[in-house]
Amino acid sequence: MNDPIIVGAFYVLAFLVVASALAVTLARNVVHAALLLVVTFFSVAGIYVLLSADFVAVVQVLIYVGAVMILLLFAIMLTQRTSMAQTNPSNAQYAWGAAVAVVLLALMLAGFTGNRWPALPGPLPSSTVQYIGEAFFSRYAVAFEIAAVLLLAALVGAIVLAADDKERKP
């Protein structure tokens, strides 16, 4: 990945990802945090495109931006009290949280450097969509079906938990 366009694109997208993620945690207003999270998800989709993962990038946009964010915005709307101005405060463990995150980041960066993972031979598949589709129905079929059952369970559970139970009482 030597092409200067790709290098430049990586640094721009990486800056967008980390900056908008930091802004999500530091924004004062939770609606601003939600909209900045949309920016983060789009930037992560851009990183996936740089990694030649076209299917994962499109699924990221569809599911995270298209479904999870809508859900989050609805939840924010349903749980608002008065004004949205100071709805994202920090708790008393702010400093400890920052310290733990910095220490973990230092540990992970120390563990990642150096050429630890030799590449296996073989070319990238020309169409990841086809490859992933075939893999889902051959090698990973059980996991695929279990994921479907999990999504059904989550759907039923979310409806039962969030439903207003005034109508069910006799």
Binding site: M1, L72, N88, W96, T128, L155, A158
Partner: protein
């Protein structure tokens, strides 16, 4: 200057740690869920980077990342349903005030 596996792993670590900082230090339960989604995105970047650089012939990391995406979406839905139910009963979503099980 070239971009290798380490750059993507460093980005993944940074995104994960920002999400961890937010999950540990925010009071609004919805923001904590948002930071958990950030952590899962960080892990997904690492998975897809490994698929691209270490096992490009069988892109196992991308398949794993799609599963992580599905599970993260399901978990966000159930978590938000729980938060809405808590709000209905206690009129607050500040995790400092939801302390009935604290001894």
């Amino acid at each position: 200057m070239s971009i290798g596996l380490e750059h993507f792993l460093a980005l993944s670590a940074a995104l994960f740690c920002v999400g961890l900082f937010g999950a540990l230090s925010k009071r609004n339960a919805i923001v904590i869920l948002m930071c958990i989604e950030l952590m899962m995105n960080g892990a997904n970047i690492a998975l897809v980077a490994f698929a691209r650089f270490v096992t490009p012939a069988l892109i196992t990391g991308q398949i794993f990342a799609v599963f992580v995406l599905a599970i993260a979406a399901a978990e966000a839905a159930v978590g938000l349903a729980i938060i809405i139910a808590i709000y209905r009963n206690h009129r607050t979503i500040s995790v400092d005030d939801i302390n009935l099980m604290k001894w």
